[in-house]
Amino acid sequence: MIRAEHLSKNFGTLEVLKEINVEIHKGEVISIIGPSGTGKSTFLRCLNLLEIPSGGKIFIDGVDIMNKNVDIPKLRRKMGMVFQSFNLFSHLSVLDNLTFGPVKLLGINKADAKKKALELLKMVGLAEKAYSFTDELSGGQKQRVAIARCLSMDPEIILFDEPTSALDPTMVSEVLAVIRRLAKEGMTMAIVTHEMDFARDVSNRVFYMDEGLIYEEGTPQQIFQNPVKEKTKAFIQRIRSFMYEINSPDFDLYAMNGEIQHFCEKHVLTKKMTNDVILIVEELLTAHKAQTDIFDINLTLSYSEKHDTLLITFESAGPECNILEADGDDNLSAIIISGLTENVEYQRTGDKNKLNMYLRKN
């Protein structure tokens, strides 16, 4: 359906897209993920020529859209686009936002356009807002209107450019639910997103973009469970993990606690779980300090949403020592850790001591 060959895009001397070679087939749902500034949105905007590529070719249904003789508006009609910032007409009602394009560009009569618009609004759960102005809607409602407006043009593919990034977290799910429904109905979609769970659930393929390239692509399972390339691994790991280095016995405990708390809040852990994690980490550090003066410690917290588990990894350089078995005279830290965790494992790897433990669920 869409094929990009050697696609590149420069902004002045800045090379944003280097060498994109990719094909999107009819009925596929593609999620495009990756760090900020790696060309994800630019790639999407190049596909419908909102940005003119600096080089390469884009074919839609076999037609080279960069050929000067091609009717670009006609080709664009095959592709709808949903933007982060909605881009609705604020001076028009919701209904008029949906009928404007079909009437003006597709030549559909007003009555038919209205009938279809009302059906689409019903589909996105906003039929009762048909006669409201867009400024009267919440962010989530605006984005659902934007999706309905996109559908009113009967696109063959929809390009979503971070459709939930501008939304309050409470409104993200209502928009994702609409996109999920479209995926189930077989709509071809390419979605730039930071919603990793959504990308994993809804996509057939995932493109991980980095360095201006599609650095790695694969099924959601391949990209999220078994990424092959280093940068993909690091990105996927970073999403779900918290890492903290402690290089001095005089480290800032409260700064670390603040970051742990932020990580726990991000994953909606309860206050008790958060408190327990902070306590376990403090006890690990206390037990460590009782054994050695060497402070070369890497702390990692890894949360699995699927299993609702939190893995705490405490890795420290120095002589071989399981700090939980060689705790100080009262063993208090080890007792507390043992009470709050399960499946504690000690490993000696190279010159490092490594403790893995799971936060106990209460």
Partner: protein, 100 residues
């Protein structure tokens, strides 16, 4: 951590507020050291505003318990939140301390 001391007929009450952890527990230890130089009959540690306690705090508490026993002073810990109570339970201190 903030420690507010009140005295009434030989009963010293320390109302503790904040965190009792590696950083702050020495404040309580110092307060208790100076207190044991006075003549007191009973010591009350009010935990109403303590929302976090690590082993560092526990060590201070258990040392205080040993000290009061040797001096023949009663010590009570009051208004303990459930999260703190569970730490006393895990470490077995519930049996040693008088927690009300």
């Amino acid at each position: 951590m903030i420690i507010t001391k009140t005295e009434n007929n030989g009963v010293i009450s320390l109302a503790l507020a904040g965190r009792l952890d590696t950083v702050t527990s020495s404040l309580l230890a110092n307060e208790l050291d100076s207190l044991f130089e006075e003549k007191i009959e009973k010591l009350v540690l009010d935990f109403l505003k303590i929302d976090y306690m690590s082993s560092a705090g526990l060590r201070v508490i258990i040392n205080a318990q040993k000290k009061v026993q040797s001096l023949g002073i009663k010590m009570e810990i009051t208004n303990v939140h459930e999260s703190i109570k569970s730490i006393f339970d895990i470490t077995g201190f519930t049996k040693i301390l008088t927690i009300i």
